[in-house]
Symmetry: C2
Subunit: 375 residues, 2 copies
Amino acid sequence: MALLTYLTTAHFDFGAIARLPKEMARLGISRPLIVTDAGLVRAGLLERVTDQVEAGSSLPVFDGTPANPTEKAVMAAFAQYGEEGCDGVIALGGGSSMDLGKAVALLAGSGGPLDKFDPANKGTRNMTAVAPVIAVPTTSGTGSEVSVGIIIVMDDGRKATFAGPKLIPASAICDPELTLGLPPLMTAATGMDAITHCIESFLAPTENPPADGVALDGLWRGWSALKRAVDDGSDREARWNMMMASTEGALAFIKGLGAVHSMSHAAGRLSDLNLHHGTLNAVLLPAVLRFNAPGQEERYARLRQAMGLEPGADIADAIAGLNASIGLPANLTEMGLTEARLGDMVPYAVSDLATRTNPRPVGASEFEALYRESF
Amino acid sequence: MALLTYLTTAHFDFGAIARLPKEMARLGISRPLIVTDAGLVRAGLLERVTDQVEAGSSLPVFDGTPANPTEKAVMAAFAQYGEEGCDGVIALGGGSSMDLGKAVALLAGSGGPLDKFDPANKGTRNMTAVAPVIAVPTTSGTGSEVSVGIIIVMDDGRKATFAGPKLIPASAICDPELTLGLPPLMTAATGMDAITHCIESFLAPTENPPADGVALDGLWRGWSALKRAVDDGSDREARWNMMMASTEGALAFIKGLGAVHSMSHAAGRLSDLNLHHGTLNAVLLPAVLRFNAPGQEERYARLRQAMGLEPGADIADAIAGLNASIGLPANLTEMGLTEARLGDMVPYAVSDLATRTNPRPVGASEFEALYRESF
């Protein structure tokens, strides 16, 4: 049975951040906790937000979001939320800040601990309420501003995915203006995250044709815009299209994702390496696309169309070529990941939520082979 | 500013009608008015619905839906809704029954007269509440089960469009099983309505890339399935894809439609002719596609991709070819419409809501030329 749900509202355009006061009023937020990271504060992006709000400079800010959000950081931000008497969250940043902010709002609405929401134990039904969240992305990749999910590195070392309709931010303000200053390498890495979302969600076997269409539009847009955005960060049209591809990728992955994300999550949890999620996706995508190809002729043909490739062109090679042209590493080894960590990753990839929606069944031996192909 | 809203929930698959009792309970409907037409009752489709509900045969039924729903019929059904003490609507049928049922629910929730909701006078804000509607399509074309609009021929002769998020049915049950008996000509005519929705909404200048993607997926699906569904009504895969194309077309036209619909509405209001909406769209589409082509190279290229046409192929010719191959008339003259009625149609086309979102400005003289080209 195909269950089609249209889920969220996003205000999307250059200057959209000016809507912040309206959205706060609409959602009854008078004292938000702004969840972000120190780099964004230094980059002046926090001010871009607080300038929109009366007495914005007096709003409580949690800027301790780690590169990969941890349960520990979530609990610290949640404590601040309570101490400051907050009534909502403004989640400002990339996927890490947005996911952390969404987690704080979940705890504020439904109580803790985080683990009780684990989908592996049907925890989604414990998401009874969520405090209002206004998500403001400053990268174009994660799409967390419209997604049903959050990903947190738990105290026990798992990189856990929590998902449920209530986790969709009550409001998303997508202002490409906020991405104009994003450095080339971050533009490339986050952009490949968006492209991976579009490709993996389109290939997920879940029956949801509207989401398929959204994924292909996002891929069409992102594929033609990413290199331009990397080469010239001030290319406003490319920035607009990358942010839209990011939003569309996340709207589409209501279908679920696939083996790239399973492997990426399993590697991203290695706290000593602190690897970037989008970069991992970019590096892992070619091997997984080769693995998933059998029986996917029609879907791969539609991917080629969206990417403007010739009929029969090798999509995996095209991805590897784009990675190289935008300065991303060619393999996991270049990222500092070694085969010695295989045992540390494979079991986590097997049990990752995204594994359930990979178009081709994939277990421990397949994951090991896919990692080896990517070293 | 692109405003992206994901709006509705549809239960979609063969046998989905079995969900009816669950959906009634979820929406708190204990005594629905079933709005349908006499033909569907004769075809046994009413029973297919009432068989799902305890004491279903005792439910009040309004089966007086005309081929094009009129204000008069809406008021008659609304009177029955009140007399029977109904608390919701099951709208069963094609676009006419579903639009009429949605209109009854609107009057039940926000009071009358219908005219006070006219968007031309900002009437949408008068849609304060709408009684719960479960929409059950029995054709694959209108997509009214997920759409924000209803179209009613008013007592004063206008074919008026009312639109607003509250008009989206609270529940849509899309069961392709209910379309297996649809005769070839109705399959063709309603199917071209769905295809026209996908094409016109994709070309509408409104900024909504996710809706663009949904429209192209619907076109891709409908274009390959329609002739198969016409040639063999029992082709379940083709029926499934046509119903999905219909749903996707309506999800997409949140962007708005275009000149084909303006002209089709203006002709459909001629009560002496009682012309079929989908057939009018099919016949008018080629001329409008030729008219809209200038400056649309990229969008037309994406339409060709979705339709599997060669680069540079004439889309208008392809549509005319499909029309001929599925037994639809080649022009308005064959439908019994004559140039003598031009004065009766052009002004209504100019003022139609869909005219605002045609990609190329279109006024009285252009509409007259487009009609003449279609005679």
